[in-house]
Amino acid sequence: MSDSELPDDGTTPPGEQAPAGDQSEPVFESEQEEFEPVQVFPESEDMDLRSGADKCTKVGSCDAECPVAEVDDDFPGPQFQGPEQWRLTNDAEDDDFDDSVMQCSNCMRCDNACPSGVPFSQMHNTARARHVSDQRLSVKKIRNRLLANYRSSAWLASKVPRLANAAMNFGPARWIGEKVLGVSKEREFPAFATETFREWWAARGGHATSVDNAVAARERRGEAADADKQVAYFHGCYANYNTPEVARAMVRVYEELGYEIVVPEQGCSGTPMFANGFLDDAERHAEKNVANVGAAIEEGYDVIASCSSCSMALRQEYPEQFDIDGIADLSAHTYDALEYLRIHEDIEELLADASVEALPDVAYHAPCHSRNQGLARQSLELFEDLDGIDVTDVGDSCSGISGTYGWKEEKYDTSMKIGEEMFEHMEGAPAEHGMTECPTCSMQMEHGTGYEITHPLEVIEAALVDG
């Protein structure tokens, strides 16, 4: 562009620098010999994820691994959703994101598929939150917020569990649920326990009883009565309100092995809120969890979760999304319930000496959120030598429900299509029962096959406590 073409109002067109000095003289020529490439951009210190986009080499591993892209032609897949959208954002705060990000089920499989370390789930969670905060209030948004804040409705329902169970699975009510709120009428609401885990725990005598049980167990096992074996239990919402038998199994197994347990006050882990783009809600709960569970960590407790999505949230999503004092400590001290036993006890040996003749054989589905933590095969390995139960792996397919995803009327078909492969493999397995660590996978497994689904902790309970 010659000088005469420059606007005469004194401004410079975008992308052009005002000419400085004589342009005919190449500025760098004399310095070319000494040219030393240096890092031009400083390491980013804020939460700007655009730099993560630069790691993408476009191999498409993420798209090939994505269960939603596999069945839904309208979904552009994680490569677009993550690095490509972020690359196009000019301003990390203000740009809007394509609404297809709401079709992502937050299974997080793209994280592990990527050979280059693109922070996919962090990008999705952040993009979703920005998209949702820009959305106007709608029935769908209210529905999503209701689903995401499952803990609040569960809390209410647990006050009147029988009434809630009857009302929510009452045909006309489900029809209205779908028509008005967009909650699929195909799904049966999970039953609320008549006694929540926390009620059971309190009635049983709380921490004091746990110490007594642990000390007695240590004596039986020939360990020091004051052995340093103490864990804080993050039960999450589902094991508290819907499947307290899983939480009770955790308590009995750990106490049997000499651990004293505390059950700190806790909120939701945040998983359903991440998936629906309500990061503010998730942060509120995270603050509560970091404060209460963190206090136990300071007392020397490690944190145990029995739900794979809860442990995933505390370990990975918390430090990725929030800057809360103590959040790194919580992440670094949280363990999956089975994983912790594998590290601290010779659990495989104990199980090899035990027997669970009363239990049926099971078809096992590894939840995506276990898979992402490298835990997809631990339940298979643990029960390899346990007498009386055969565990058949149903492969690496996704169950398709992904928490609240499969509850939405418009996502129900996608969810069931994703789950098809798992259902087929379950039915092909030599078992009429199922097993998994994740409560919503468990729902989907039951919904698709009619099988009863158990948690690995219940199997260990049968082997080591009841046996």
Partner: protein
């Protein structure tokens, strides 16, 4: 307490998988840990042994004849021909009839999606009908919405390099409409299931054959981009072939590549069948040693360091492109155990100005002895119980010599077998 096994293999590529399978077959308890899903899915699925000499001579007709021409520190020379053959025999045994080429020492010439011809020692059964040495006339078929295969380019370039057959090309619509740029796995899964085509009342395999038929002409074989099924490729090929009345083969593609994905499941299944354990999703981040014996390593599982211990360790973390070898402006390192990596002191000597020159960086890696233990600059073992295999090993240029899979298999098998022997003694 740590999670215990006899042999711990670090890395889930072809070298790590071969090491783990060989160790498990020796009767050792084995665990393989892989940071991410294996990069085998980005690989061609072809098993190269040696295609070119370090001087660029080739394509080589017989890779074994050329082993002698390699430098003395090349992994093949360290192992010796018998060990290299043993590795390949193990691979043949694992893959059975799903891989071909074991009937001869000679390299096969496989057409690539870019229309070049690649010398390779073993190829998937799906590529068998497509060999460039075969004189039968060939139609290359592209699929709309699979943008990484342009059949006319492949056909023209193959004709230009003088293959002994006529080539033709056609691009057809896939009978089931998918979005633009749909992943190759989607096509594969529809063909696996032989999904019914709307309105036609027939399966997608036959429908695809029908769309290709008008372009067939005199062609005696038809090459498709490698999308012909993930779980049942032989069935898909057979159905297409019988509907077309011509042989059918697949051209290996860029990532994600179905032949690579199939090889991945084949090797993981073999590891499971041999009793080996594995976990994907967590990197090994640190170790502790007592003198020259590694006692324990730790994996980082979303924030926690989880201890793992073994008698013997196999390092199979890959080369520069896989972060098994790391580099800063000052230094090239092996980041996990800090094994010695030979390198020119001045980093301007790490590369040549000629793009396709004989770059030193292409040979960066740990310096192994004949027993595959990485050695210090003085030639002593770095650790008594550590061996290395695959891309992390130095002194060979897999890209120029076309020897990547062969070195991975030979060193993987050697390292796994020796580790198991030492661990169970």
């Amino acid at each position: 307490m740590a999670i215990e096994q006899d042999v711990l293999v670090i890395g889930g590529g072809i070298a790590g998988l071969t090491a783990a399978i060989s160790a498990a077959r020796e009767g050792a308890s084995v665990r393989l840990v892989s940071y991410k899903e294996t990069t085998l899915r980005h690989a061609s699925g072809l098993i190269d042994l040696l295609g070119y000499t370090p001087d660029g001579e080739g394509p080589l007709e017989d890779p074994y004849d050329a082993l002698e021409t390699l430098p003395a520190d090349h992994p093949y020379r360290l192992l010796g021909e018998a060990r290299v053959r043993e590795g390949m025999a193990t691979f043949d045994e694992i893959t059975g009839d799903r891989y071909r080429g074991e009937h001869t020492d000679a390299n096969a010439l496989v057409p690539t999606f870019g229309g070049t011809v690649k010398p390779t020692a073993r190829y998937p059964a799906g590529a068998a009908a497509g060999l460039a040495s075969d004189p039968r006339s060939t139609l290359f078929v592209g699929i709309e919405r699979v943008p990484d295969f342009e059949p006319s380019i492949a056909a023209d370039r193959l004709a230009a390099v003088g293959v002994p057959f006529d080539t033709s090309a056609a691009t057809v619509e896939f009978p089931i409409p998918l979005r633009d740029d749909a992943k190759k796995t989607r096509f594969a899964h529809l063909l696996d299931a032989n999904e019914t085509v709307d309105g036609a009342g027939e399966g997608v395999r036959r429908a695809l054959a029908e769309t290709v038929k008008p372009h067939l002409g005199d062609a005696e074989r038809v090459g498709f981009p490698a999308i012909l099924g993930q779980d049942h490729p032989a069935e898909v090929r057979d159905d297409l072939a019988s509907a077309l009345g011509a042989d059918v083969f697949e051209v290996p593609m860029g990532p994600p590549n179905l032949p690579g994905l199939r090889l991945e499941s084949l090797l993981y299944d073999a590891l499971e069948a041999a009793g080996g354990r594995f976990e994907v999703g967590s990197p090994v981040v640190s170790y502790s040693a007592d003198g020259e014996v590694i006692e324990q390593v730790a994996i980082d599982r979303s924030g926690q360091e989880i201890p793992m211990t073994a008698e013997q360790y196999v390092l199979a973390t890959g080369g520069l492109e896989s972060d098994g070898i790391g580099a800063t402006r000052e230094q090239v390192t092996e980041p996990l155990f800090d094994c010695h990596v030979p390198q020119p002191a001045d980093r301007y000597d790490w590369f040549e100005d000629d793009v396709f020159g004989d770059h030193a960086f292409a040979r960066f890696g740990v310096d192994v002895a004949a027993d595959l233990r990485p050695q210090t600059a003085d030639g002593d073992p770095e650790f008594g119980n550590l061996r290395a295999a695959g891309g992390v090993v130095g002194n060979y240029d897999y890209a120029a010599q076309k020897c990547g899979s062969g070195v991975s298999i030979a060193t993987g098998h050697g390292a796994g077998q020796r580790a198991a022997e030492d661990a169970t003694q």
